[in-house]
């Protein structure tokens, strides 16, 4: 494999490359203060499709209102099963990390955890899709997807779900996958695709006019919540996405009627200008 084969989605957002992001916005820039000052995400529901969220973790601030786990069906031709997870556990720590980041930006937003880690290759794409379908059906305003599927067989399913979400006013925020090859739904136009930048600040984000990855957010050496009430320092696009999900929750809290298209536009118009 050659180095050129790597997508390096974070590349446009690192310090010595950021000048390439400079541009005139067609409708001009928006003042952040008018949009974000005093915004707390109240009235917004954010779904976190991940490894689960620990309800009692201090980083989640008691905002987890529902927790479900998606499981493989008994027979191949049946739908995946979505059942309540009354214990609200996180089998890894990763979902709690994402929830903690979203809560730190949008403290009044309600959180829903959809645990979708499948047991094997056969099931995980279907479980992930079923979890996303369920979250859209729950009326979530924002869905954080710090994971993706590479299965070609899942392409039409995720494509359909991305459209469904878009038309249901549900914004999908998807972590770009820093590995070669396609991954869904992070590369679909209807989602907000996010890679990490290297500025240690949750309030710094960049807009990249050259898709597929449109936003760069804090994702390097982020102090995150982890399993068992713990915390660690982490790096990855996984942790950049929930920063944008948190910002989107703030926008949706202020403008509940804002469409995914408008939220994306606001995020672009309030993004940091590269120095």
């Amino acid at each position: 494999m050659s180095a050129e084969a790597l997508p390096a989605w974070s590349e446009p957002f690192v310090e010595n490359q950021r000048a390439g992001l400079k541009r005139e916005l067609p409708l001009g820039r928006l003042e952040r203060a008018s949009l974000f000052d005093g915004a707390d995400g109240a009235g917004v529901t954010v779904a976190i499709i991940d490894s689960g969220v620990e309800r009692d973790h201090s980083a989640v601030g008691g905002r987890l209102v529902t927790s479900v786990v998606v499981e493989l069906p008994q027979a191949e031709d049946e739908d995946a099963i979505v059942r309540l997870d009354p214990d609200a556990i996180d089998v890894v720590g990763h979902g709690t990390a994402c929830a903690g980041i979203i809560h730190s930006l949008a403290p009044a937003a309600q959180l829903i955890s959809v645990r979708v880690l499948g047991p094997d290759n056969r099931g995980k794409g279907a479980i992930f899709a079923a979890g996303l379908q369920w979250a859209i059906g729950q009326g979530a305003s924002v869905v954080n997807l710090s994971l993706s599927s590479r299965s070609e067989a899942m392409f039409p399913i995720f494509h359909d779900l991305a459209d469904q979400a878009y038309f249901a006013n549900c914004l999908l925020v998807s972590a770009a996958n820093n590995v070669p090859g396609a991954s869904y739904p992070s590369l679909f136009a209807a989602v907000v695709s996010v890679a990490a930048h290297d500025v240690a600040d949750p309030w710094t984000w960049f807009y990249n006019p050259a898709p597929p990855v449109e936003f760069g957010a804090y994702g390097v050496d982020v102090e995150i919540a982890w399993k068992g009430g713990g915390s660690v320092v982490a790096t990855g696009n996984s942790f950049a996405a929930p920063h944008v999900a948190g910002l989107a929750a703030l926008i949706r809290g202020r403008y509940p009627e804002a469409t995914p298209f408008e939220v994306k536009t606001i995020l672009a118009a309030t993004a940091n200008q590269p120095a």
């Binding site: 974070s10 490894s51 880690l117 290759n121 820093n178 390097v220 713990g230 660690v232 990855g236």
Partner: protein
């Protein structure tokens, strides 16, 4: 075995194509014996550990039979304890990266008491930092490459994640080659099944088993030579198909003989 009569339609073009593929792949597979694959993967984790100046590096592969992620190779003194460790594919950092194909770097993990205890119990070593990237082929994730404790820095950078991805790509290429060997069984089964009557499936299974499990290198070589001859009949005319039948009868007789020998010597293996 009394194979199907030599009718051209039974001996489908597809089946012959498959046999030809087996012959090609069989020759490749023999060069990729288990020891070679392992050595290749080990060289990849060793190169990874050296390049990152890391305490350890390891590769875990998903074992569909066990339904677990199993650590196959490791580099670095601190990494050896992890070899053979099997974990559920939806738990832990390796499980997360396997399940989501999302690379991940964690540091200051020793701060997390639960994490440290779990790692120490499992491998005898508590890392301070972990970088895990997925091994991805066209169809999905097949495993995870982990790097533990880069000595020059307390954390891993975005560059590190991308670089580890390159090594993971190399490992995937090596593994894909070795999996061709495993595919051989499926190919052989499919193509032989197309040549025989349904009631002779047991014979097919025996041939497949011989082809993929027999440790007798000489015999295996001969079996592949037969398969190779079958494959060369790709352009066979009806007269030559008679010969094909004879060849398969030879294979079947040999399979029977070997299975008798095994029964007598108590080496019979349970049918898979």
């Amino acid at each position: 075995m009394s194979p199907a009569g030599p009718s051209g339609d039974r001996l489908s073009v597809d089946a012959l194509e498959l046999l030809r593929a087996i012959a090609r792949r069989g020759a490749l597979a023999r060069r990729l014996e288990d020891g070679v694959e392992r050595a290749l993967l080990r060289s990849i984790v060793e190169a990874t550990a050296t390049l990152f100046d890391a305490e350890a590096a390891s590769i875990a592969l998903f074992d569909p039979g066990r339904g677990q992620l199993v650590f196959e190779v490791a580099a670095g003194e601190q990494g050896q304890g992890v070899i053979g460790l099997a974990i559920p594919p939806d738990q832990g950092i390796a499980g997360y990266v396997y399940s989501t194909a999302q690379p991940l770097a964690l540091s200051e993990v020793e701060r997390d008491v639960r994490f440290g205890r779990g790692a120490a119990e499992a491998t005898g070593y508590v890392p301070r930092s972990i970088l895990a990237v997925p091994l991805l082929d066209e169809r999905g994730t097949i495993g995870v490459l982990e790097v533990l404790d880069k000595r020059s820095s307390a954390t891993f950078s975005l560059r590190d994640i991308e670089l580890a991805g390159v090594f993971a790509g190399q490992a995937t290429v090596a593994i894909r080659a070795s999996r061709i060997e495993r595919d051989t069984a499926a190919l052989l089964r499919a193509s032989l099944a197309a040549l025989v009557q349904p009631e002779e499936r047991a014979t097919v299974e025996e041939i497949v088993r011989l082809a993929v499990t027999d440790q007798d290198r000489d015999d295996e070589g001969r079996l592949w030579a037969i398969v190779d001859r079958v494959a060369r009949l790709r352009a066979a005319d009806p007269g030559e198909l008679e010969m094909l039948v004879e060849i398969l009868e030879v294979v079947a007789r040999r399979a029977e003989r070997r299975s008798d020998q095994r029964r007598r010597s108590g080496r019979a293996r349970p049918a898979r």
